[in-house]
Amino acid sequence: MSDPVFGLPSRRSFLTLSGIAVGGLALAACSGGATSTNTAGTGSSATEKKGIGNNGQVGKGRAGATADSLLIAGFQWGAPATFNPLSPTAAWPASGNVMQIVYESLLRWNILTGEIMPGLAKEYKVDGTNSVTLTLQDGITFSDGSPCTAKDVVATYELGKKNKGISISAFWQLADSIEATDDKTVVIKVNQKSKNVGQVLRTVTETYILPAAVFSAIADDKLPTTVIDKPIGTGPFTLSKADQTQVVLAINENYWGKTFYGGLPVMKQIIHPIFKSNEDGNIKFQAGELDIMQQFVSQIWKMWEGGKPVGTFLKSKPYFVPGSMPMLLMNTTKKGLDNAAVRKAIASAIDYASIADTAMSGYSDAVQASLILPTGAEGKFFNKSDAEANGWKYDAAAAEKILTDAGATKGSDGIYTIDGNRLGPYKLITPTGWTDWNAACEIVAKSLKAIGIDCATNFPQQADCTQAIQGGTFDLACWYVSGVNPATPWARFKDIMSQAEMQPIGKTTFANYGRWENAEVEAMLTEAAQATDDAGKKAAYDKLDALYRKEVPSCPLMYRPDEFYEYNASNFFNWPDENNDYAPPMFRGAGNTWMYKIQKIAG
C-alpha cells in the first residue's frame, strides 16, 4: 500500500527491477565463468600428497595472520550467548557433542567403523548388562591446570539429578548409579529395568566432562541459564575471543593429551567466522578462506570441477557417508493413515530416486525399506534380502494396486476413499528454510497426488513444526530420528515404534510421534536392547524390521550425512578421505583425530 513495491509501480520501481535482472545476468556470467574456465585455479597438481582436493589439486598455503589458523564454519549462526555446555543455547564449541576441542568426553564414537574409541577414558569394560567400568587416562588436566579426576566425572553426571532440565538428566533413566572407586576409575551401574547398555555408552560418548569446582558453585536451578564466557575444559584449545563476527580458539600448550594423540594439533588457532547464511559460507569456502565446514552445498562437485582444491570423504556420489535418515512420519490417528495398507501405498508411491537426485543434490542413495542404514556401522544388521522381498520401492502402479486391493475406490476428483474416508487433504510439514527437506516434501506431495492421495506441503517455523510433531497434531511430517550412534539402530526403532514413550494427542512425546499402536513391539525392543552380542542383536533387529515393513508406521525419505564433512586443501592437506581413512569424516567424537594429523602446505 504505502510500500513502493505494492503501491503504484513507479518508473523507479521498474528501473529497480530492471537493475536486478541486469545484475543477475552479470552474476550469472561471473559465476559461469568461474566454473568453466578456472581449471588452473588456486592450486597445482600434487599427486604425492594425500587428503587433497577431489580433483587432485592442492593450494599453495595461506600467508599472513591466518597462516597457522584453521578456519571452520557451519556450527555457529548467531552471536555467541554463552559457553555453558548445559545451556540449550550454548555456542560452538560448547554446544552438545559438536567437537572435542574445548570440552571432551570419556569415549569417542567412530561413525565409519562403529568403534567406541578412547577419549578421556583409556579403556572401558562392559559387564553384561550390569555395569560399565571406565578407566581414565593419565595426567588429565583442565585448561586452568587443575587435575581432572573420576570425581569430576561423577559430579558431571550427578548434575543431571540436580536439574531435570539439562540433557544429562536423561542419563538417570539408563543408570542406577555412578561411582568413583578411585581417582581414575568410574563404575556405572546400568538400570536393571531397561538394561540398555547401548544407550549408556551413547551417553558416555556424547557427554562432556566438566570441572566440578566450577559447576558445584552454580545453584542447581541456574545450571542451564548461567552465562559462562570463559569455558574451562580438558580440550586442546581455550576460548580466546568471541563476538558477533567470530569465535576464536587458541591452543593450550599444556594440553594433557600431547602424549596420547602424539603431539599438539598443527594449528595454533581455530577461527569460526559467523555467517548469516549458507551462501556466505559457501563462497568463502570455495575461495579457500575456510579450511573445513559443515554446511549444505548444492552441487559441491562444481567446486572441484572449477579447479578448487575442495574435497569430500567419498570421491564419487554420494560424496558423504550416510549417517542419518530423515523420515516421513505418518500420524496413525488420522482417518486413512490409520490403515497399514494406505501407509504402505504411500511408501510405495514416493519417488525416492528423485529426492536423492535433486532435493539431496545427489548426496544420498535411494533408500531401502528398513530402519537400519545399509552402510557403515549399522550395515552388519541390515537384512537386504528381507528388505527387498517384503519392503517397498517407488512404483506408482503398485501403490495404487495396494489401495484398490485394500478396498479403496477412486472418486470423481481423482482421490481415493477407503472405508468411507477420503485420503486427504493431508498437510505435509517440515520447518521452513530446511531447503533439502522442503524440496523432498514437494516431491512427496506430488508423488502422493499422482496416485490419488490428496496432499499439500506446509512449511511452518521450526518451533511450530516441532510442537505439532511432538504433540501429534500433524498429518504427515518430514522429521529426523536418531543418527548413527552407539545405540543405533535400536534408538531409531525406539524413536519410531516405542509404546512406552507414546503420549496421547496434545501431549509432548520424544518418540513414536505418529502414535502407532502395537502390542508386540515393546517386548521386541527390550529384547534388542538387552542382546549382548551381534548375533543376538541381528536376530532381534530382523524381527523389529519385519514388523516395521508390515506396519509401515513411517518411511525413510533419504540418507543424509550425519555431518557434512567438506574440506578445502588450500592451506592444509592430509585430510581424511576414503583413500586416506585414518579418521572418520566427522567433527564430533573420533573426528578430532584429523586435527592432529593434517599438515600445513607451506612452512
Binding site: S2, V5, A21, T435
Partner: protein
C-alpha cells in the same frame, strides 16, 4: 436538451476526458469516441510485449513437448537442444515450468488486480460522491490501511493461509484474494478525489432533478467520467499484484505445489543457482517478471497519454503540428461564435 447540457459539461470538464467534436453540425457524422484516441507507438509496443507474454503463458504449453511436472533431467542440467533452458532444481524443464509459472502469475495478477480495483473504486466513488461522515469513515479506514506496511500484512495473512485447512484459500486464488484485499487503498483515495470533483458538476444536479437514485447516478453519471482513470489504475494494480505474488512466493509463502515466477526464484535461490552458475534457473523468471512489469507500466504510461492529451509526447515537429491544429480549431471556433446563427444556444 439533456444532450446539449451533457456536451457542455463534457467540454468544460477538467482532468482526463474523452475529446468530442465541439461543433457537431446536423450533417456531420460523429466518429466513435475511441477512433478519436491517439494510439501512439508506445501503446503498440507495450501491447506487443503483453501479447507475447500471454501467448507464452496460455498457448506455449499447448505446443511445448514437456509438462511442468515431468521430470526430464537432474538438478540444474545445462541448456541443450532438447531442453532450451536446461532443468531446474527438481529436474523439470525450465521452459515448461516458466510457461506454467507465467500463466499462474498472470491469473493471479488479473484476479488480485481486479479485486483491488473493484474494492478501491467502490469505496472511492461512494466516499467521494456521498461525502459527509461516510466519506470521513471510509477515508479514515483507507488511511489506516495505507499506514500499515503492506508487506507485513501480506506475510502474516499468507502464513495463516498456509496453515488453514480450507483448500480454496491455499491455492493461487487464496493468494490473489490476500493481495487484492490489501492493495486497494491508494486506488480508493485517488478515485475518491475524482468522484468528489465530478459530484459537483451540473449533470449530476440534472440527474438528481430528473429523479435518478444514488446507485444509478454513481453507475451512469459518475463512473463513466472516471473510466479512463479506472482502466489505468487497473493496469497498475495488475503489475503490482504480480510483483507482490512474486515477493511472497520468493519468501517461500506461495501456494504449495503451484508454479509461479516467484516460486521459481524461491527454489533457484534455495538451491544456490547463482553460486553454482545455473543462470538458467533464475534468469528466465527474472526476465519474464521484468517484461511483464515493464509492459504493464509502459501500457499505463501510454494510456495516460491517450486519455490525457496534455501529457502526450512526441517529436518537436509533432508538437508544433499539434499546436497548429489547436490554433486552427480555436480560430474556427471563434469564427463560429461570431456567426449570427449559433447552434450552441443552451435552452434552459
Amino acid at each position: 436538451m439533456t444532450n446539449i447540457s451533457s456536451n457542455a459539461v463534457t467540454a468544460e470538464a477538467e482532468g482526463p476526458l474523452v475529446p468530442t467534436d465541439p461543433t457537431p453540425g446536423p450533417k456531420a457524422k460523429a466518429k466513435p469516441a475511441w477512433m478519436n484516441l491517439n494510439f501512439g507507438p508506445r501503446l503498440w509496443v507495450s501491447l506487443g510485449i503483453i501479447v507475447v507474454i500471454a501467448l507464452l503463458a496460455f498457448v506455449g504449453p499447448l505446443l511445448y513437448p514437456y509438462g511442468p511436472d515431468e521430470k526430464v533431467g537432474s538438478l540444474y542440467d545445462a541448456p541443450s537442444a532438447a531442453h532450451w533452458l536446461g532443468t531446474e532444481n527438481f529436474g523439470y524443464d525450465v521452459v515448461a515450468v516458466l510457461m506454467a509459472s507465467t500463466r499462474n502469475s498472470l491469473i493471479n495478477g488479473l484476479l488480485a488486480g481486479t479485486l483491488a480495483t473493484v474494492i478501491g473504486v467502490g469505496i472511492g466513488v461512494v466516499a467521494g460522491y456521498i461525502g459527509g461522515w461516510l466519506e470521513e469513515l471510509l477515508m479514515g479506514i483507507t488511511n489506516i490501511v495505507l499506514a500499515i506496511p503492506s508487506i507485513v500484512i501480506l506475510i502474516l495473512i499468507s502464513m495463516s493461509l498456509q496453515s488453514t485447512d480450507i483448500p480454496f484459500f491455499k491455492g493461487i486464488v487464496g493468494l490473489a484474494l490476500v493481495i487484492g484485499i490489501t492493495s486497494w487503498p491508494w486506488t480508493a483515495r485517488a478515485v475518491r478525489a475524482q468522484a468528489s470533483s465530478v459530484s459537483t458538476r451540473e449533470h449530476i444536479d440534472v440527474a438528481k432533478l430528473s429523479g435518478a437514485r444514488t446507485p444509478g447516478i454513481l453507475i451512469r453519471d459518475v463512473l463513466p467520467y472516471l473510466a479512463s482513470y479506472v482502466v489505468m489504475a487497473w493496469v497498475l494494480q495488475l503489475a503490482s499484484a504480480i510483483l507482490a505474488e512474486s515477493t511472497l512466493s520468493m519468501l517461500g509463502l506461495g501456494p504449495s505445489g503451484t508454479n509461479s515466477l516467484g516460486m521459481q526464484l524461491h527454489w533457484a535461490l534455495a538451491f544456490q543457482s547463482v553460486a553454482t552458475g545455473a543462470w538458467w534457473a533464475f534468469l528466465p523468471p527474472t526476465i519474464v517478471l521484468t517484461l511483464i512489469s515493464f509492459g504493464l507500466l509502459y501500457l499505463q504510461s501510454s494510456l495516460d497519454e491517450v486519455f490525457n492529451p496534455r501529457l502526450r509526447r512526441g517529436k518537436k515537429k509533432n508538437l508544433a503540428a499539434a499546436a497548429k491544429r489547436r490554433e486552427e480549431a480555436a480560430r474556427k471556433l471563434e469564427e463560429e461564435m461570431k456567426a449570427p446563427a449559433g447552434v450552441t444556444e443552451v435552452i434552459v
